[in-house]
Symmetry: C2
Subunit: 383 residues, 2 copies
Amino acid sequence: MSTLKQVAAEAEVSVSTASAALRGMDIVRPDTIRKVEAAARRVGYRVNLSARALRNGRTGIFTAIVPDLGTAFYARFANSLSNALLAHGHRLVIQTSQYDAELELDLIRRANASVCDGLFVCPTASNGDAVRQAAGDQPVILFDGEDSGDTASLDRIETPNQSGMDAVIRHLAEDCGRTRIGIVGASDRSTPAAKGTRLRLSRCDYALRTMRSLGLNVEHAPVVSDWGVEAGIATARRLVADELAYDALCCMNDELAFGVLRGLAECGIRVPEDVAVTGFDGIPGCTYVTPTLTTVAVDADGMAQAAVSMMERRVGIGGAGLTGDGTVAADAASGNGTASRGNSSRRSRAGSRTEADPRNTIASQRLIAGFRLIVRESTAGRA
Amino acid sequence: MSTLKQVAAEAEVSVSTASAALRGMDIVRPDTIRKVEAAARRVGYRVNLSARALRNGRTGIFTAIVPDLGTAFYARFANSLSNALLAHGHRLVIQTSQYDAELELDLIRRANASVCDGLFVCPTASNGDAVRQAAGDQPVILFDGEDSGDTASLDRIETPNQSGMDAVIRHLAEDCGRTRIGIVGASDRSTPAAKGTRLRLSRCDYALRTMRSLGLNVEHAPVVSDWGVEAGIATARRLVADELAYDALCCMNDELAFGVLRGLAECGIRVPEDVAVTGFDGIPGCTYVTPTLTTVAVDADGMAQAAVSMMERRVGIGGAGLTGDGTVAADAASGNGTASRGNSSRRSRAGSRTEADPRNTIASQRLIAGFRLIVRESTAGRA
DNA sequence: CTGAAAGCGCTTACAG
DNA sequence: CTGAAAGCGCTTACAG
């Protein structure tokens, strides 16, 4: 790899000029910029990000921590986030916590010490405070994080649990005329660290709330061990053995619903004739299970883009310092001017975090993602 | 974040000693090590990887380029790779090429200039040469890459296409007594850059080879547009419209098979009574589609672990230089001693890649992953 | 066994 | 508008 020094020599300018020119700073004369760019191309120059990071305190690399990539929702979300960041000239390191709260906090702590400008965290069992503390001075965007006291400087994005559940329940009650709706996804408190515990409670609560507001009978929701396919299968079998007191089963996520569909099919129960089934998330499988699954399709791309905006606001980048590696980076440079100015004035030197850091003084934002209720065979029957 | 200098001051030793102590080098007296470690803990020290990378030329960060994380096989593989690297004290940046050959090469080139010690690439349409060239001096492990001329210093890992297809075809023919087997997954050459083109050709060829060896009639395989669910649905409909000349449909991957199952169900064709269906990969959906899918379950974890071994061999790390950030790193230190020695002697200074770099002189390796044929309802019927 | 010094490649005040 | 110099935090010969 060639260095900036070589580019400068090739272009017959100083290293400082070469540096400024490649980053397109407007104090450099246009023809000097062209000269330097040509030289960079000739010697095949690529900026060394380690050096830049050491100087800058910035790397353009962010870290996402998701419980698992084997779960379709998280895989798709990580995909969206990765692409959204890439479009802004940044990169994403994806790591998995395997639903282990300790591992999760450890990953966050390590990211903090590592080459990373900020964190995107889908917490499994840790609350906002614990995440905030582990993250140290790194900005964090939290997804579906449990609410807690001191959350200044913790931005949040949530899946539309309340409005989504409301839409599904209304669909089952009003469009499909179901009256005995079972909520599949509750868990007793004895398995607090199991997959999806947090979400589980929240989504179930919202579903029950809408049912009550519609005057529906709220029976005990079937308890499940986790939100996976196996748990869904087991639940369906158990319900059938109990003479299936429901005419609709509203599942807290798609995988659980897949399992329920499987389990019901094995018992010879017809969907949706005997019982309607719904999911939540909108993962690809919904279109090819039999019957196809009515679900709340969460706008993962929108979530990802919002997350990137929040992060850029907090990191305070217009992109200027992070691009300029010879390739065009129009996108990244189009950030807001204020943030960009704030950037350079904020700290004169890497590591000097003595002055108040706006990362922690900006008010925190909160956003709820959009969704679409997609009606398919599992509630509407075959076309 | 505190620096090594502060640790040294706290421990009342020099910076060099602190550095050596934290990496557990055996030239440091044991009690000095303890003293430094205690100091590091007190000031909450974490090594700055940018600085280390600048000095070392190593970051402990690797990059994986997969076509897509929305595809279950790649998501699972990325997951496995990420975990396998983590267990060795490294980290993985996952990026997606979206089946775009240009983007793919661009990502590889960028990774080369960035904070990255090596690349894991699942190529979409680029051949080994193009990947090798884009990667520059970075080590690359290629997955299911097309064979090409100059592949020195390109290690490869392949899914067990030949033995896997052989096992499926034999299962259909010998265990299930099927004689009219259709291979779903061929494509005409007119869509060369479409999803999975490369694999498609190879797997189909192997399937047909086994069929011929068994004396089966090899008819024209149904051409599909890609390897997705939609293509599978369309194929099934087309075949049924053509009076379904097959008693088995051997699909080149699971998603295609899911689509075929869907399409057949919509047409009222029974699986496996009228026609047996098989997939390839072993993604989670196989267990919950109806009927459950017989498939070749590729050992993704094994692939990932082998990939990490190959990479470590090529990068020449025993882990010593990359760990020692205060946390215990037993795993990482247990690499092979030879590589570890080669490491320090290889280059005295970062960036001085003048001497012959073993990265490019080590003979390339090739490995074929393991698999298990898992028989389910789609060929065996319900239990 | 320990310490002082050089230098990885870059960016940014600071002088011209 | 351009250049010389300092320094980000670390590791590694090299002297003691």
